[in-house]
């Protein structure tokens, strides 16, 4: 059984006095231990799709199953709290806190077991994504974009969620830094057995992934390669 099953999702946005169909009966399934990328032209609905599988929004019809359980039954909040970690293009860190605090915030909210010593676990995670101790205690505003994105990844990992979702995580970063981030995602899937789903515009990033999903605006459905 797949960790994440998307079945027949239908989603529209209001567009003037009509509604514009964005996702037209989309289905997909995702497994642990794999690094997925979602490609597609701008405005085709990638972010929308991600918002649905991260339970930040609700589909008009169709269902999403986590480990065979409908996420509606789990509860959106609880699903976000315990089962997905989200990484955003613009990092979305709490600016008045340090890197370490940003990670610890997530660990304080989840109900998952996050290990005994929260502080050292968080530091280890930051270390793993390339944030050393001195940077961990710095306000996130005093970190570079690439470093902030690493912190965001550490935060997504810290709750021990199975699924890591990222929307253009390298979009604001230079090629080299972006590659570093992609490597982290790859390792998450292969070493930590996470289900990693990354939305990207970069074919280069997509080449690194185990599976590429292309979303086409004319059919509004996936085409798996």
């Amino acid at each position: 059984m797949s960790i994440l099953e998307v079945k027949d999702i239908y989603f529209t946005y209001p567009d003037g006095d009509h509604r514009k169909t964005i996702l037209n009966h989309v289905s997909a399934s995702f497994d642990c231990g794999k690094f997925y990328t979602i490609l597609g032209s701008s405005g085709c609905g990638k972010t929308t799709f991600l918002s649905l599988i991260s339970a930040l929004d609700k589909a008009e019809s169709g269902d999403i199953y986590y480990n065979g359980i409908n996420i509606k039954d789990i509860g959106f909040e609880k699903y976000r709290r315990n089962h997905v970690g989200i990484v955003f293009q613009n990092y979305n860190l709490i600016t008045y806190m340090t890197a370490l605090e940003n990670v610890r915030i997530a660990m304080g909210i989840t109900e998952n077991d996050v290990g005994g010593d929260i502080s050292s676990t968080a530091l280890e995670l930051l270390e793993k994504v390339g944030i050393d101790r001195t940077k961990a205690d710095r306000r996130v505003t005093k970190l570079s974009g690439g470093e902030q994105q690493r912190v965001a990844i550490a935060r997504a990992l810290s709750t021990n969620a199975d699924i890591i979702l990222a929307d253009e995580p390298t979009g604001n970063l230079d090629k080299k830094t972006g590659r570093g981030i992609v490597d982290i995602f790859k390792n998450l899937a292969h070493d930590l057995n996470k289900c990693v789903i990354v939305v990207t515009h970069s074919e280069e990033v997509a080449r690194e992934s185990d599976e590429i999903l292309r979303l086409y605006s004319h059919t509004q459905s996936f085409n798996f390669e």
């Binding site: 972010t47 991600l50 918002s51 991260s54 930040l56 929004d57 909040e77 609880k78 699903y79 976000r80 709290r81 315990n82 989200i86 955003f88 613009n90 979305n92 860190l93 709490i94 600016t95 008045y96 806190m97 605090e101 610890r104 915030i105 997530a106 660990m107 304080g108 909210i109 989840t110 929260i118 709750t159 929307d167």
Partner: protein, 474 residues
């Protein structure tokens, strides 16, 4: 990082927001502390003053304190009034919780026999409308109880002497006999003279006369008590004697004189009834009022409760104003704090969105916002307890002084009869001490806590409507 740590980090790191909320709450807290302490002190002063003055009612029979020949009442109706007044007095004075009570009979048809070597203090001669003898109903001297005088030597009247109305006296030591202060067992001669008008000589001639020997049983001093001035004219007495003695003298006089030529006055001063504790005063004045209402003869009841209330009316109006200020400041604080926190929560839109994307429970998120406001606000409130108290001391005493000066004339009118205005006004200012009590602090904390809590409705409403997807996925 748990809820409490998040709150702590948020308060300490977001310094500008915290300081602004702290400042606003501090200013409002001061206004609230001032108005609460002014209000509370207004209530304390009423209690304190009543305690100080004593719970007392004064009964005055309009006719019988003026005497019948002034009003040219016939003797029968006059005596009926006298008797009814005494009955009412007896009824009220025998109630529970009465500390002491008395009334004084006066008759001015008796005077010292001339030629005795007696000196009276000029300033206090015949203090009570030319009646030299001051009757008492209670052998325990009420004037001593009220600390106008101090018993110095000898004995008080016995029950027997009170009942028979013996010719006995308790005399002011300011009275000198043979050049020395009066002392027990001295004898002082009084006389009744019946005079008749002789139209031929156009003069009064004495038609009858009788002398009475009074024995001094005790002596007293007028003491320099603050309140010794209060009822000045009534209380610096020369000679106390039992009321029954005054009655006896009056009857003697009536027998000797013919009704038509009745010249001298016989009357009752007001009666005073003092409760054992001011808490019983209301009850007593209620029953006094309900009795006199049904009387055919006019009797007025004055209570120190009315006096105190009248006296502290400026304090009351200050209290009333401060009550409005309190209400207004609570509403203002709710709105201003609400708007300020609303303003700052808008800046935290993204942070809130992050919490939501991390799957925080709505209830925890709301609790966090409430705790942040309440902790910052209450810290300011605690600071304002001290400063508010200082301000209210400055502010209210000057406010009170002004009010007292403005309304002074009004008091004088009211007060002349029973109590001395200036002394009491002084008492009001003396007793009007703004003290911060546990009660004041509790009220301040409860009211400001509710206000701050209420003000969080503004940011909470904003949070409820936030959509994390819109905030984060742009």
């Amino acid at each position: 990082m748990n809820l409490i740590k998040r709150v702590f980090v948020s308060i300490t790191r977001r310094k500008v927001a915290s300081l602004v909320i702290l400042l606003v709450a501090f200013l409002m807290g001061n206004v609230m502390a001032v108005s609460i302490s002014i209000q509370q002190s207004g209530q304390n002063i009423e209690r304190n003053l009543l305690e100080r003055i004593g719970g007392k009612i004064v009964l005055t029979g309009a006719n019988i304190s003026a005497s019948r020949n002034v009003l040219s009442l016939d003797e029968t109706s006059y005596n009926l009034q006298m008797n009814r007044f005494m009955e009412i007095y007896d009824y009220l004075a025998s109630k529970n919780n009465i500390a002491y009570a008395d009334y004084s009979l006066h008759f001015d048809g008796i005077d010292l026999v001339e030629g005795q070597n007696i000196e009276l203090d000029e300033s206090v001669q015949y203090p009570n409308g030319y009646s030299i003898l001051h009757g008492i109903e209670n052998r325990e001297l009420i004037d001593e109880k009220e600390r106008y005088i101090q018993f110095t030597n000898g004995e008080k009247f016995t029950e027997e002497q009170m009942k028979n109305g013996d010719n006995v006296l308790i005399v002011n030591e300011a009275v000198f006999i043979d050049g020395r202060p009066v002392k027990p067992n001295d004898v002082i001669e009084f006389e009744i003279k019946i005079e008749e008008y002789d139209p031929e000589t156009n003069k009064f001639i004495i038609t009858d006369k009788e002398t009475f020997s009074y024995r001094v049983v005790g002596t007293f001093q007028v003491i320099d008590n603050k309140f010794s001035d209060v009822k000045n004219s009534n209380n610096i007495q020369m000679f106390y004697t039992p009321n029954q003695n005054i009655k006896n003298i009056y009857h003697k006089y009536s027998e000797m004189s013919s009704n038509e030529r009745f010249q001298s006055k016989y009357w009752i001063d007001s009666a005073t009834i003092v409760v054992s504790s001011s808490e019983y005063l209301f009850q007593l004045s209620e029953s006094a009022n309900s009795i006199v209402e049904e009387e055919n003869y006019p009797i007025t009841v004055t209570s120190t409760l009315d006096t105190v209330e009248k006296l502290i009316s400026p304090v009351k109006s200050i209290s009333a104003i401060s009550q409005n200020i309190l209400l207004f400041s609570m509403i203002a604080m709710t709105i201003i704090l609400g708007l300020v926190s609303f303003y700052f929560i808008r800046d935290r839109k993204k942070e809130i969105g992050i919490y939501m994307s991390l799957g925080i429970r709505k209830s925890h998120l709301m609790l966090q916002i409430i705790l942040e406001s309440v902790l910052t606000g209450m810290a300011a409130i605690f600071l304002s307890i001290g400063s508010g108290w200082l301000i209210s001391q400055q502010y209210s005493s000057s406010l009170l002084k002004n009010s007292l000066e403005v309304e002074e004339s009004e008091y004088e009118e009211y007060m002349t009869d029973t109590l001395n205005y200036e002394l009491l006004a002084q008492d009001v200012t003396d007793n009007y001490k703004i003290t911060i009590t546990f009660e004041d602090v509790s009220i301040l904390i409860i009211l400001s806590f509710s206000t701050i809590l209420l003000s969080t409705a503004f940011p909470l409403f904003y949070i409820m409507r936030l959509d994390p997807k819109e905030i984060l996925l742009e």
